[in-house]
């Protein structure tokens, strides 16, 4: 908590710097009445000084905290007797942990020898010195930078431009985090995926019709088939997604139409948030509901009609997933419908068409790009959904289009492959990363498609 205090002190100093910077600008302009001689508003001079008080000191604080533990550990190790110094890095790490626990007053394991006690005492000493050094350095730096900035304040000084440059730098940094995330995602699955493709050819993975990672768990077993054709996984995903969309698109769209066109304002304000709860229910919860409530109902209904239904049918998972996606479709369609200019709607009504005709012949065609974009987003949400299918859809990779059979999806396979009991570096585990990469590429493709559709067919009315 020491660091928290220090951060608060620096923040307070920045606030002070703001005040002094502002005052200084007013005084160099010789009083508030002659403010117009200043280049920028007085507040900007304040911000300028505050930024100089805050940023360098915070940077130092961050860097110090990253480096300090390493330095202290290095110093401690140097001070240890030779016997301890020659230990392997892992053992040394454990010893340091013990020293830390001792220093913090936590329970220590084993006997506490003089070496340990000595080291713990030194640890405390270093940590204490470090803390004081840090406090002096950061506060000093903040004071120094702020006063330098303070001295630069003259009526001609372009404080606003400086402040705005810093802010726009921050804005650019924030928006590039999205790019970094994507790079991170690709990097974190790419290497393992490449290792997988070294063992299993890409063509087999992409076009193989048989997914059965029954390779041996232990070395002395001979695995059975062990084939990694991902086609059944993708058709399974497609089947479940298809069922979900079969529910979500008509229901979601009709809901949006009803709420936008027919319902009273009161019903709309009540219903819309209620429906949005559907999107907020955790998927784990949906998963249990699908597996325990919906699946048996589907099975009983199917069997009473004379169908053979697997207890883990694609239908149950798809139905529940469809319900989960309804609000996504409906709220995005709602936005698209509402963005169609009123004039078009009023025009159609004035010509004597009924509301439903206005909707289907005028508004929907105009809103279509937005609706399609929303549906594509819903599709990628369905493809990426994990917990519902983990619980309700089972793991059998069947190549089938029958919604009453059990199928599996890509995300389910990723989870089971990564938390299984098999050896970790086997093709089985690596396959999870290859599947992750494929999933990423597919959603990317869908998105590019969506943006293309929206851009190409968007009607500009405004």
């Amino acid at each position: 908590m020491q660091i928290t205090t220090l951060t608060l002190i620096i923040a307070a100093m920045a606030a002070g710097a703001f005040y002094f910077g502002r005052e200084r600008s007013l005084s160099v302009a010789s009083g508030p009445s002659r403010m117009q001689t200043l280049h920028s508003l007085p507040g900007y001079y304040g911000y300028y000084t505050a930024i100089w008080a805050l940023l360098p000191a915070m940077g130092l604080l961050l860097a110090w905290n990253l480096i300090e533990p390493r330095v202290i550990v290095g110093l401690i190790v140097q001070g240890l007797p030779d016997a301890e110094q020659s230990m392997s890095p892992g053992e040394l790490n454990l010893l340091i942990n013990n020293i830390r626990n001792l220093a913090n007053g936590d329970i220590v394991s084993g006997e506490v020898g003089t070496v340990l006690q000595d080291a713990a005492a030194r640890y405390l000493e270093y940590a204490n010195t470090g803390r004081w050094m840090l406090a002096v350095l950061t506060i000093g730096l903040a004071t120094l930078c702020a006063s330098l900035a303070w001295r630069r304040i003259t009526p001609k000084f372009r404080a606003r431009n400086h402040v705005e440059r810093v802010i726009s730098g921050l804005l650019i940094a924030a928006s590039s985090i999205a790019i970094l995330t994507t790079i991170g995602i690709v990097m974190s699955v790419l290497f393992e995926a490449i290792r997988f493709f070294r063992e299993v050819p890409l063509s087999e993975f992409l076009f193989g019709l048989n997914w059965s990672p029954q390779t041996a768990i232990r070395a002395d077993q001979v695995g059975s088939s062990g084939s990694f054709g991902a086609v059944p996984l993708f058709t399974g995903t497609l089947l479940i997604t298809g069922i979900a969309m079969f529910i979500a698109v008509p229901v979601g769209l009709m809901t949006a139409i009803y709420l936008a066109e027919y319902s009273s304002a009161r019903i709309r304000t009540i219903t819309k948030p209620i429906l949005e709860i559907l999107a907020g229910i955790p998927t784990v919860v949906y998963g249990f509901f699908a597996a325990l409530t919906v699946a048996p109902v589907v099975r009983r209904a199917g069997e009473s009609m004379g169908f053979e239904v697997a207890s883990e049918s694609a239908l149950a998972a798809g139905l529940v997933m469809g319900i989960m996606i309804i609000p996504l479709v409906s709220s995005l369609s709602d936005d698209a419908i509402n963005s169609v200019p009123r004039a078009m709607r009023d025009g159609a009504l004035a010509l004597g068409s009924t509301r439903s005709e206005t909707m289907t012949k005028v508004i929907l065609p105009a809103a279509l790009p937005g609706i399609v974009g929303g549906i594509l987003l819903a599709v990628s949400r369905a493809i990426g959904e994990t917990m519902i299918v983990v619980m309700a859809a089972g793991l059998s990779a069947n190549l089938t289009a029958n919604p009453l059979e059990a199928v599996t999806t890509v995300t389910v396979q990723i989870v089971t492959l990564l938390v299984g009991d098999q050896e970790f570096d086997s093709a089985k585990t690596l396959a999870a990363f290859a599947l992750g990469l494929m999933l990423f590429l597919i959603t990317l493709g869908l998105n590019v498609l969506g943006i293309y559709v929206v851009r190409k067919y968007r009607e500009e009315y405004d």
């Binding site: 626990n101 938390v419 009991d421 970790f424 585990t429």
Partner: protein
Amino acid sequence: MAKRSMRSVIVASTLASIVICGDAFAQSGRDYVYIVGSSTVYPFATVVAERFGRGSDFKTPKVESTGSGGGLKLFCDGIGVDYPDIANASRAIKQSELAMCASNGVAEVIEVKIGYDGIVVANAIAGREISLSRQDIFLALAKEVPGGADGDLIENPYQTWQDVNSSLPAQRIEVLGPPPTSGTRDAFVELAMEGGCKTIPWIAALKNEDGDKYKAVCHTIREDGKFIEAGENDNLIVQKLEANPSAFGIFGFSFLDQNAEKVKGAAIDGTVPTFDAIADGSYPVSRPLYFYVKKAHVDVIPGLRGFLREFTSERAWGEEGYLSDRGLIPMPTVERKAVANAVSQLTPLAVAEK
């Protein structure tokens, strides 16, 4: 008005980030035991962890459920506070994993066998009482079964249990079981399927002639939808069985034990899965469970030795211990003593020369 609310939001979020930054950097050592591994051992390890944590001054160990493979991978990554002290496994560690451990500096690993877990084939109480032989299980679930003549293998044609064995009911074969990534599946295949497979003379003879083929025949489960891979959540399997009385499920004995009013275990080779039958070895399908400890961490991580002592104490894994209440089948007294002794001496596993 709006402007003021904006400012207060900004101030609040800045303060929050300050507090977070301060805390995130707080340095402290690890003062608890860190356990990873199999989801099958998880229910037992957590009970011991909790009792140990509450009964001693040490913190309660952290038990992660990662699967045996993922757990051993983390375990073998190195020595130090960032790595787990103990890995639970529903199978024995592999030589290749031991070698990986050794290459990362984890030279001495202590193996602790904690007891047995029975694997049961169960159906809903509403379903029929059924008695299977291991041969029935093999014929019902294998991908390929013997055809007419010796040496002939045909794609499994059996649709109902009666097709397999005329004394069984004419009920569609539908078995919910663990996926191939699971240790439970592995043990089931080895004990039940191979056990049944061996009873067919020409396949048994194959074992010496062509070991690979023998295993391929005995270990491959059919993939035509009669065997449904149902994930590792055994509770869900129990509930799905309840909803579907004609289906059978394969899972650990502890779930049967806890859900005795919903599901019942089928007799295998004439023996009904009960606590005693598994303990005395007359029930054929049971497997040992293990955990592995890093010797280098004992006496360095606070509480690790105490945790080991608790786990290997009679009140935990003994015949009347609290683990047996949870469905862990204890080892015979002699074996328990031997393992407990090895643990207190910290005798590491030998890395085989290969």
